[in-house]
Amino acid sequence: MTDFKQIENNLKKEAKKLLESAEVPVVLAYTRGYDEKHPMPFAAKSVADVEKIVFNEYCNFNMARYIMRFPDAAKIAIAAKAADSRALVVLIQEEKVRREDLVILGIPASGMKDPKTDQLIDSRTTGGLYNPVEYDILLGEEIRGQKTVSPYAVLADYEAMDKEARWAFWKGQLDKCIRCYACRKACPMCYCDPCFIDQNKPRWADKAPQSPGNMMYHLTRFHHLAGRCIDCGECSRACPVGIPLYLFHKKVAKECEEMFGQAAGMKLEDKPVLVDFRVEDSDQILK
C-alpha cells in the first residue's frame, strides 16, 4: 500500500522547489475539498499554494485533463499516477502538449479508492498498472510485487454473455444516461470543443436523453477513444447515474491491443492506432 502521507510530503517538496525556481508557474496536484474524503484537483501557482496540496487514497482525478488550461504557462508540473501518465503520453503523441513542457511528478499508487463506494479501484481501472509509465521525478518507491491482474479480467463476465443479454445490459445502462456529459468532461482524452454530439451541422443525434441519441453519443465516443483510452475509469466515476462506461472502453482497448498490438499511452514514440495502419494488417480483423 502506498504511503500517502509520504507522497503528499514529497509532492509538496517538489512543488515548492519548482514554484520557487519560477521555471514552472503551475503545479497540478490535489487539494482538500469540503472534507477529507472529497479532495479536489488543484492548480498550485505560488509557493503559498503548496501548503494546500494534499494526497490521499481518494485522489483519483486524472490530472492530465487540466494541462491544456494553461496556454500561457511555459512549463507545467503535474502529479501523475499510472493512468495520468498514460494520458499524458497520449496527449504528447497527439501533440496537445510537448514532453519538454512538462515536469511529470510520478506517483506510484496502490490502494486508491472510489469515494462513493469505498472500494479499491486499483485493478479495475488503471490498466493493471501501479507505477507511472513516464515521469521526471518519482515521488515514492516504485511498487513491485503487487499481484498483477490483467486489466481485462473484469470483462470476462460480459464477454461470456450472449448477444441478447449483452444488448439488454448495455441498452439498460445507456438508457439511464441523462446527457450531463460528465464522462467526456472528466476524460483526459476528450478534449474536443465542440464535441461531435453538440454539432448542429451535422446533427448526429437528438439532444434529448433518450435511447437513440444516447446510443449514438456513447457508441461514437467509444470509437473516438479506441486506441486512446488509457483506462483511468474517470468516466465511470464521474457518471451520476452509475453507467459502467469503463467496461466498454476496456473492451475496445482490449480489441485494439489484440488487433494492432499496441496499448494506448505506453510509449511516447507510438502513434494512436486509428490514425495509423500497417500494410500487413490482416483482413481477419474485419471478420
Binding site: 469540503y34 456529459y181 468532461k185 453538440d198 439532444k207 457518471c239 451520476p240 447515474v241 452509475g242
Partner: protein, 345 residues
C-alpha cells in the same frame, strides 16, 4: 388533519393512490434512488436519503415535446402534443425539494408569461413531503439549514409525513392535502400524542444540523455583484471545474432549457430539453460569438444566478441546500464553500 398508517401497510397506501392517479416516488436504481412512477405497490420504498436527480423532473421533465409536424406539410397542420394531465401524487419529497417547487413557481408561473406545462402539472399534483430521519445525521454535502429549511419542514408540501416508530404520520398542510387524506380510507386518525410528536419533530427538524452559515439574500446578492469582475476569485474557484452538466441537472432549482427540432424521415417534433449554463455551447450565438468561453465565466454565471441574479429578480435565493451538486460533482466542487469564500472575499 393528522392521519397515520402503519409502515408495514404502506403498500396499501400506494395501491390506493395508484387507483386515484399516478404515483411517483423514489425508486431504487443501481446508483441510488430516483423519482419514478410506481407500477407495483410493493415498489414503494421509504428507505432512502434523497434522490439523485431532484423531483423537478416531474414538472419540468428533461424532455418535453411541444409540437409534432411533417416538414413537407404546411405549418398550420402541425399538431401540439397533448399533455394528458392526470392527478399525480408525488410521494416522499424531502423538505428542501418541496421548497424548491415554490422557488421554481415564481419563475414559471408567478411572473411574466406562464409556462403552461409547469402550471398544469403543478396544479394536478399533490406533494407528499417527507421529513429527513432525524436520527441519522445529515450528509456532509447538505446545507439546507443555511437556506432556512428544516429537516422536517412542511413548507411546500400538501401533505407532510413523519415517521414515528412503526407508523407514518401524515398531516395535511394545504386544502389539497386535506382533500386527499380524507379520501384515503385506510388511514387511521392521528392521536393527540401523534400530533404532539409530529409538532415536536418539526421543531426538532429545524435544529437538525447541516452545514450552516448566516446568509442574508440581499447581502450575498450584493457581495457577488461586487466581486463579479474579480477574475482571480472565480478562476481559483473554478480551477477544478470540468464544465459538465451534473450540478445543474441534479439541481432542484435549475431550469435552463434548450428548444430543438428532431426530425426523422421528414417527420419531426419540436421539444425542449434541459440545458446547462455549464456547457460550453450554452451561450454560443448563431454568429459564432460566445460571450462565455471560459470555465470561470460559466461557474460564475451559475453561482451568481442562484445567489445574486435570482435574488435581484425574484427576491429569493435559488438554492435549497439539498447538497446534490456537491455530492455528485466529479471533482467535488462545493457551492457552499464558494459562497463562504465569496462572503470572505
Amino acid at each position: 388533519m393528522l392521519k397515520k398508517i402503519s409502515i408495514k401497510k404502506i403498500n396499501d397506501l400506494a395501491a390506493a393512490l395508484m387507483e386515484k392517479g399516478t404515483l411517483l416516488a423514489p425508486v431504487k436504481e443501481a446508483a441510488g434512488h430516483n423519482f419514478a412512477e410506481i407500477k407495483d405497490p410493493q415498489q414503494l420504498d421509504l428507505d432512502y436519503y434523497n434522490t439523485i436527480v431532484s423531483p423537478k423532473t416531474v414538472f419540468l421533465p428533461q424532455k418535453e415535446d411541444f409540437v409534432r409536424y411533417e416538414t413537407a406539410k404546411p405549418v398550420a397542420e402541425a399538431q401540439p402534443v397533448a399533455l394528458n394531465i392526470k392527478a399525480t401524487f408525488l410521494f416522499g419529497v424531502r423538505p428542501c425539494d418541496a421548497k424548491s417547487f415554490q422557488i421554481m413557481d415564481i419563475h414559471f408561473h408567478a411572473s411574466g408569461i406562464i409556462d403552461p406545462y409547469w402550471q398544469q402539472r403543478r396544479d394536478a399534483t399533490v406533494i407528499f413531503g417527507s421529513a429527513f430521519d432525524l436520527d441519522i445525521p445529515a450528509q456532509d454535502a447538505d446545507f439546507y439549514q443555511t437556506l432556512g429549511i428544516g429537516a422536517a419542514d412542511p413548507e411546500g408540501s400538501d401533505v407532510f409525513m413523519v415517521k414515528k416508530g412503526e407508523d407514518l404520520l401524515m398531516k395535511a398542510i394545504t386544502p389539497q392535502g386535506e382533500e386527499i387524506l380524507a379520501r384515503l380510507a385506510m388511514l387511521g386518525e392521528g392521536k393527540p400524542a401523534d400530533k404532539k410528536y409530529f409538532e415536536e419533530y418539526i421543531k426538532k427538524g429545524s435544529q437538525h444540523q447541516t452545514r450552516n452559515m448566516c446568509l442574508d439574500p440581499q447581502v450575498i446578492a450584493k457581495k457577488l455583484e461586487d466581486i463579479f469582475h474579480s477574475g482571480e476569485f472565480w478562476q481559483a474557484q473554478s480551477a477544478a471545474c470540468l464544465s459538465c452538466g451534473i450540478c445543474t441537472f441534479v439541481c432542484p432549482t435549475c431550469y435552463c432549457f434548450d428548444i430543438c427540432d428532431d426530425t426523422l424521415f421528414s417527420r419531426g417534433v419540436r421539444r425542449r430539453v434541459w440545458d446547462a449554463c455549464m456547457f460550453t455551447d450554452f451561450t454560443l450565438e448563431a454568429s459564432g460569438h460566445n460571450p462565455r468561453t471560459h470555465v470561470y465565466q460559466r461557474l460564475r454565471q451559475k453561482v451568481c444566478h442562484k445567489y445574486s441574479f435570482h435574488v435581484r429578480k425574484y427576491g429569493v435565493i435559488s438554492c435549497v441546500g439539498c447538497g446534490r451538486c456537491t455530492r455528485y460533482c466529479p471533482v467535488n466542487i462545493d457551492i457552499y464553500s464558494i459562497i463562504q469564500d465569496a462572503m470572505k472575499a
